[in-house]
């Protein structure tokens, strides 16, 4: 049973919608925050066979409801895991090709799916020094990416101030030309829509709108022109089961505001 619009927060909507982007049986490299929570939700709902990898070195854990880890490097990440390895080894799994999907949040993204988590303003004299790439650069360089983030004009910019994690760089064949021959941006899931990328140009486009959201709304919350075709789809609202499972996982609202 799907819930009524307005029965969930934007974070909850984002979490459910991005969980749905995962398929059963996939090996998913999940960042901390919404991705961790959404991958766990996917496991509890439609994709019990999803294997989660955390950057701290955890393979196939079982995240315990109410004990969400504050980073991917804490022991909470390792509960009932299948295997623990070093950080370098878990990142090398991306390079070797064992991972299906990299799943991250983002501070700033541009029309080619490049992510910035390093500097607001110029790198030499930033107005804000952000925490940096972590595994983001490696994940985005080496595997197919799903990014979950709120759709806001200041976050969806024409060109990011700094390419921390590469999308399609300057579009066309520029990503492959740079040496990044595998992986690439696949989906951006927001609280308004599900976005994809044009095969040829590498530019972002709208695939599906969330119920009640118009194409105009999405464009208004985006700092560059989005291609929105007439055949754009509509997602289904979160179900009561999804929301219940989500709230059970994060009762203290650590990641869902």
């Amino acid at each position: 049973m799907t819930t009524e619009p307005g029965n969930c927060t934007a974070s909850e909507l984002l979490c459910v919608m991005s969980a749905r982007a995962l398929e059963d049986g996939q090996v998913v490299f999940a960042g901390v925050g919404i991705p961790l929570l959404a991958a766990t939700l996917a496991q509890r709902m439609h994709a019990p066979g999803v294997t989660i990898l955390f950057e701290g070195g955890t393979i196939g854990p079982h995240v315990v409801p109410g004990e969400l880890p504050p980073t991917t490097n804490e022991q909470r990440c390792t509960r009932k895991a299948n295997m623990l390895v070093s950080i370098t080894e878990v990142l090398l799994l991306l390079q070797r090709g064992y991972v299906d999907v990299g799943f991250m949040g983002g501070a700033q993204i541009d029309q080619y799916g490049n992510l910035n988590s390093s500097f607001i303003g110029s790198a030499d004299d930033p107005s804000v020094r952000l925490p940096g790439t972590g595994g983001g650069n490696d994940i985005a360089s080496l595997t197919k990416m799903i990014v979950a983030m709120p759709q806001e004009k200041r976050r969806f910019v024409e060109k990011v101030d700094f390419v921390t994690s590469p999308g399609y760089l300057t579009g066309g064949t520029s990503r492959v030309d740079s040496g990044l021959v595998a992986g690439g941006m696949y989906r951006v899931v927001t609280d308004l829509a599900v976005l994809g990328f044009d095969d040829g140009t590498g530019r972002m486009k709208v695939l599906d709108l969330h119920p009640g959201v118009t194409a105009e709304q999405v464009q208004e919350n985006t700092g560059f022109e989005l291609s929105i075709g007439p055949d754009v789809g509509v997602t289904e609202l979160p179900t009561d089961e999804e929301l219940a499972a989500l709230r059970h996982l994060d009762p203290d609202k650590v990641y869902i505001a």
């Binding site: 490097n73 804490e74 022991q75 070093s86 390079q95 925490p131 360089s141 990044l180």
Partner: protein, 317 residues
Amino acid sequence: MTQSYLDLRERTQARDRSLREKVMSLEEACEYINNGDHVALGGSTASRTSMAMLWALIRAKKRELSFSRSIVSTEGDLIFASGIGNHILTSWFSQGIIWGVSRVMRHYTENKLARFEEWSHMSIGLRYRAGAMGVPFMPMRSMMGSDVAGRLDNLKEMECPFTGEKIMLVPALNPDVALIHVQRCDSFGNAQLDGLTFMDIDIAMAANRVILTTERIISNDQIRRSPDQTKIPFFAVDAVVEVPYGSAPHECFGLYEPLFSHMDYYAELTRKDPAAGVNEYLEKFYYGPENWTEYLELIGLGDLLDAARRGRSIYDD
């Protein structure tokens, strides 16, 4: 930082690598770190940080140290604010995502008081690994095309002579000193780690000196009963210091989780006026106590017991 191979070997061969006792105090271990050294920190974010050794370095007023670590949490704030170092090489630097962006890191970097040198997470791991293997570089396939690579001047792209592919080479990193906190080791430095090992093994093998802090010293006989559990060999270790709760307020796998209320307190203290807040913290917890036990007392037994209860629960499953 990239040493010539002969230099590296000479430094290694000059170390006393025999099976010998090397247990000492935090203060004695400080003698193994010289001003200007590059110091690599084991653990990651708020896990198995060698906090007690950092505490001792700050109290010893070391200067001009540079640091590297896979991911940096509150210890990075304390390094900058205490003045022991103003250069940290890492992939991510903030207290932890749930506490927002570190205001202290922002204060020091945005005002150009200190430098946060950003590399991709894997590239840091591979730099340590090259150092551990005794080769001058490692090949990898990320960082290409990004501005992260663009800001670094010691990366090389090459065409693979076997496949013609474009490959990124990252240079070996052989730290002068590695500070690694472990659950247990013997008095010779044979260390056995539980749970996540982060980049610690490569760091230990890459470094020119290794200082282990350990929750507990066990006998060499005990080590020899399960040699396949030893992760760092004694001959790579120069000093062993027994420090219970040596990673507090960060966690130590299987023994204690992060001391969340203390971490919240720290975040709150540094939120409004980062410079003043972090200095207040240093005064109280770093310069105030007579010894490590007093530091732990200031943090509070209640928090320690709570963290230990949560820490041990990992073995309940």
